[in-house]
Chain length 237, copies 2
């Protein structure tokens, strides 16, 4: 199980934003350390979208100590440019690397997001198990709390949700025999068009690469067949 | 060049959030179609962080038509569960796939983000070149506008910024000979401890895998050497 812990947030809106991202990416368990007032008519509920129905009202208020004792803890930090000599924030993982690491671990994990301006303190970072940093522009790497959590939860979604809303793209590609019949028909069409023999095979290679790279759907291939059929009819006259 | 276009946003705060994410991930050119009032003392500037200095005040107001004419356009849509039979939003790319596609293209690209509640209209989607959808929970796939843009810009950061703020992690792993010397020393230490001979090689394999997987830094290896040295000293007595 993966829990999300927001430590000492100042802005109710950020708590709402994080709750919404949790629901968007399949997370349910929100814990709050020293939270601001979360008014039902305020920004937390206003920013939470449908998470106002469950994630946000179900949030549990806890202490930092309880989290450290009960969970494998991952702290997110924006502060960076740390090198190997500074122990507190190094070594770190990117969210992508973290997703890979956690995929192989069977344990209760707490993802900790810190305060708006200063993040997690060095004392807090020293007590957690893993540090995670989001790669960003060297000119301005400091993400807003809600945005940092959104990216982290997006990258870790595979650990929390079985299926996304998106159709299984692999299965939407037209089957290969349909695509192959299209190439053959296209080649035959070129032949019927008295297309220069010297260019024909090069052109077919180009078509094959272009169409193949686009991963055509069944509907698209059917439509293209229709186009060829129309060409055939026209040239037969 | 990659431009970010926000179409008909209602909420100034979302425009500020998008401007901040742009600056965080190395993007600079913001264009606005039918923007809300962006007051210097309002939420747009309040949410923009350091982007209030450049990205936001430099934003250009444009029409949808101008964008379609001048750019390779990518429209982001939350509305999903589309199948191959519905043409307007299919086929689509995920942000990850889009990053790969655009890496090979030399052209001016506009990333279009739509209205808070209804996104880009079907008429608008029909006029753009590519549709992108962020994978999210099937139960609640509708992301907030600012959060969707944040994830998209994060995934596309490689196209906009040369370096992140993070140190080059590969080069921070201690060099292999240092790590190897540690294993040898560890094994010798086991020998000096009268560790059961039958278990020694298995234990060394475990240590090697554990430490290796953690990609130890030079400092960590040096520290571990120090630990072994201390053990050696203690057992010599």
């Amino acid at each position: 199980m993966i829990s999300v812990v927001v430590v000492d947030a100042e802005t109710p809106g950020n708590v709402g934003t994080i709750a919404r991202a949790m629901k968007n990416f399949g997370f349910a368990d929100l814990k709050l350390v020293d939270p601001p007032e979360l008014d039902r008519d305020g920004e937390a509920y206003g920013f939470a979208g449908q998470a106002r129905e469950d994630v946000l009202p179900d949030a549990e208020v806890v202490t930092f100590e309880e989290i450290v004792e009960r969970f494998y803890t991952v702290g997110f930090t924006a502060t960076t440019n740390e090198d190997a000599r500074k122990h507190v924030r190094f070594p770190f993982a990117t969210p992508e690397e973290l997703a890979e690491e956690l995929a192989g671990v069977e344990t209760d994990v707490a993802l900790l997001f810190g305060r708006e301006r200063i993040g997690l303190t060095n004392d807090e970072l020293a007590r957690i198990d893993r540090v995670c940093a989001i790669p960003a522009s060297a000119d301005y790497p400091v993400l807003n709390l809600g945005q940092a959590a959104t990216i982290a939860l997006y990258e870790l979604r595979g650990l929390a949700m079985a299926d996304s809303q998106l159709p299984d793209v692999e299965r939407e590609r037209a089957n290969e025999s349909e695509i192959e019949r299209f190439y053959e028909r296209f080649d035959a069409t070129l032949g019927s068009l008295e297309y220069p023999e010297g260019k024909r095979s090069k052109t077919m290679r180009l078509v094959r690469r272009l169409v193949g790279r686009a991963h055509p759907t069944t509907r698209e291939i059917t439509t293209l067949h229709g186009v060829l059929r129309a060409i055939e009819r026209a040239t037969r006259k």
